[in-house]
């Protein structure tokens, strides 16, 4: 009895192209936060932020706290001028 080989097909890939991404190191961390300007970028769900903002401002008075608050999940960004005087940013709660 003759053996027939089943046909072999080349099947194509439905997955899209991931463009190459240059990856960067993180910005150097601060030696200390004392006397520094730390920005709170509050967006999305604000629940945790109510006690957190209060705690930061009460318990760390030697830090200069600045705040941008937005209810939308997209944060309100620092202006170029604000960036010049900002030493660090804490953002949440969302991506």
């Amino acid at each position: 009895m003759a053996v027939t080989k089943e046909k072999v097909y080349k099947c194509l890939n439905p997955v899209g192209n991931q463009e190459p991404v240059e990856t960067f190191p993180l910005a150097p961390r601060l030696k200390s936060l004392a006397g520094k300007t730390v920005h709170l970028s509050i967006c999305g769900e604000a629940d945790i932020w109510v006690p957190l903002e209060k705690k930061f401002k009460t318990e760390y008075p030697d830090i200069n706290w600045t705040v941008h608050k937005r209810f939308h999940i997209v944060p309100m960004e620092l202006t170029e001028e604000e960036r010049k005087t900002t030493d660090a940013v804490i953002l949440g709660v969302c991506w």
Binding site: L26, E45, R70, E77, C94, W95
Partner: protein, 486 residues
């Protein structure tokens, strides 16, 4: 995430707080935006009042800004995953098994999640089948999907912001910000069961972003306007939203495959959705029956700035199905023909022959439990009755509906989405141009969307029965030329 990436690259240390189930998404996005070791602190949604959580997280958050970088965090490099053109070689039986593979995702309690499909069986994209699909367009297989004209992408409710794009911009498929060639679109079209003659519609759908949205697209919903509906046999009549028509079903399905394959959607890994939508699950695609438009009413293609003989596709967000008051089709006919029945009693026109304004009945208390606009799909008779009543253009209906949605600020304040929409009442109210906090409680504002054209839509289907389909959302957004992809 692009914001944090920009800050880190410019030398400002950051830390992000995310909820537990968002961890995979945050780690994934940090790679896509070039800061793979972004520091993040995981919070719980279940902390009452957030107090306990704030106590727990405060110090780790501050530590993330001061703890020296480790070797991995100091590294730079390149992330460039490669996809091969031929994914699998084997018999059809082996290919069936390969393309229908699943993986168990911990984020969805280890339920299986399809690796290459929308969860339904697919046609195996052999090289021969893809080549056949490519006969449906004059565009080269290796051409990247780009915008064929300038585009303004509409935002969506409280959670997605709109943006502008230019002709020639490469289309990014979300959530992975991937690109695609004409051939890769053809592979997905084959898998969905499309025929080559549908392919220009599929390419226009790809140009629209393919229902991938901002990554939580859900596969999207689409409408076709123009003569191509007849060329490819789309059903624009009875059961246009039901099963049986290959064009409506398979083209609509492509959006889900684009989301999974071109965009890289993987639940809880590359994006986080909430519960999905039964309206768009499986694809929502329909076409306009422009032949049924009353005199003076424009087809969707013309409304979007195209010519009557041009075929276009519009991507939109269909929300809740079947909104508004219910009625049997016969009750509608009784209203208009003899002035009898429930709607005639409601409108207080008993015994008076129509035309009467059926929309008054349909939209009674419509915005009591919803916000934003609606799309109404009328059969020709209802459209003609509305025209005879006095709505000489579609736009006049959009304006009537929008005005009907107005309510006092004091009521508007009690709605669920408004803290987001108004940015905590710090933003500007659009009809007055004033700050929300300046407005009196009795000032009237629209619960039914920002503007009549952007929030409402009327489409015509071909049907003798006087029933209309209606769903929240829709409105008008950017149109994409199907003819440009022939």
């Amino acid at each position: 995430m692009p914001y944090l990436a920009d800050l880190e690259k410019s030398g400002i240390p950051t830390v992000i707080i995310n909820y537990d189930e968002e961890t995979g998404k945050v780690e994934h996005d940090s790679v896509v935006f070039g800061i793979p070791k972004l520091r993040h602190i995981v919070a719980s949604r279940n902390s009452p009042g957030g107090v306990e959580e704030a106590e727990k997280l405060a110090q780790p958050i501050l530590d993330a800004l001061t703890r020296p970088l480790n070797a991995e965090e100091k590294k730079s490099g390149k992330w460039s995953p490669k996809e091969k053109r031929v994914l699998f070689e084997g018999t059809l039986e082996e290919a069936e098994e390969f393309y229908h593979q699943t993986e168990n995702l911990p984020g969805i309690l280890n339920a299986p999640f399809a690796t290459y499909t929308d969860g339904l069986p697919v046609i195996i994209p052999t090289e021969e089948k893809v080549k056949e699909m490519l006969t449906g367009t004059s565009h080269r297989p290796d051409e990247l999907i780009t915008l064929q004209r300038d585009s303004a992408v509409q935002g969506f409710g409280a959670v997605e912001t709109g943006y502008k794009q230019k002709k020639g911009d490469v289309v990014k498929f979300m959530p992975m910000y991937r690109t695609a060639t004409v051939e890769q679109v053809a592979v997905n079209a084959v898998m969905a069961g499309c025929k080559p003659e549908y392919f220009p519609v599929v390419l226009a759908l790809a140009e629209s972003g393919g229902g991938t949205g901002d990554g939580r697209g859900g596969g999207g919903s689409f409408v076709v306007s123009g003569p191509i509906y007849k060329e490819i046999g789309m059903n624009v009549t009875n059961s246009l939203f039901g099963p049986g028509n290959p064009a409506n079903k398979t083209i609509g399905r492509v959006g889900s495959l684009f989301w999974r394959n071109l965009g890289g959607y993987k639940e809880t890994v590359t994006t986080i959705t909430t519960i999905g939508s039964p309206v768009t699950n499986g694809g929502l695609m329909f076409a306009e029956y422009a032949e049924g438009l009353p005199k003076g009413w424009k087809g969707l293609n013309e409304e979007l700035g195209f010519k009557k003989n041009e075929s276009v596709l519009m991507s939109f967000r269909a929300g809740s199905w079947g909104v508004g008051q219910q009625n049997a089709p016969g009750v509608y006919r009784s209203l208009q023909r003899t002035g009898h029945g429930a709607i005639a009693r409601f409108l207080d026109v008993k015994g008076i022959v129509g035309p009467h304004n059926y929309l008054e009945y349909l939209t009674k208390d419509l915005w009591a439990t919803m916000e934003g606009g609606v799309t109404l799909v009328f059969p020709p008779q209802i459209a003609q009755d509305m025209s005879d009543y006095g709505f000489k253009t579609k736009q006049s209906i959009y304006e009537w509906l929008w005005k009907r949605s107005f309510e006092p600020v004091k009521n508007f304040k009690l709605r669920g989405n408004q803290d987001f929409v108004t940015n905590g009442w710090l933003g500007i109210e659009k009809t007055s141009g004033k700050h929300w906090k300046e407005l009196s409680d009795d000032y009237m504002v629209p619960a039914g969307g920002d503007d009549p054209f952007g929030s409402y839509n009327i489409m015509i289907m071909n049907m003798q029965e006087t029933a209309c389909a209606r769903f929240s959302g829709g409105g008008h957004s950017q149109g994409y030329s199907i003819d440009a992809w022939r």
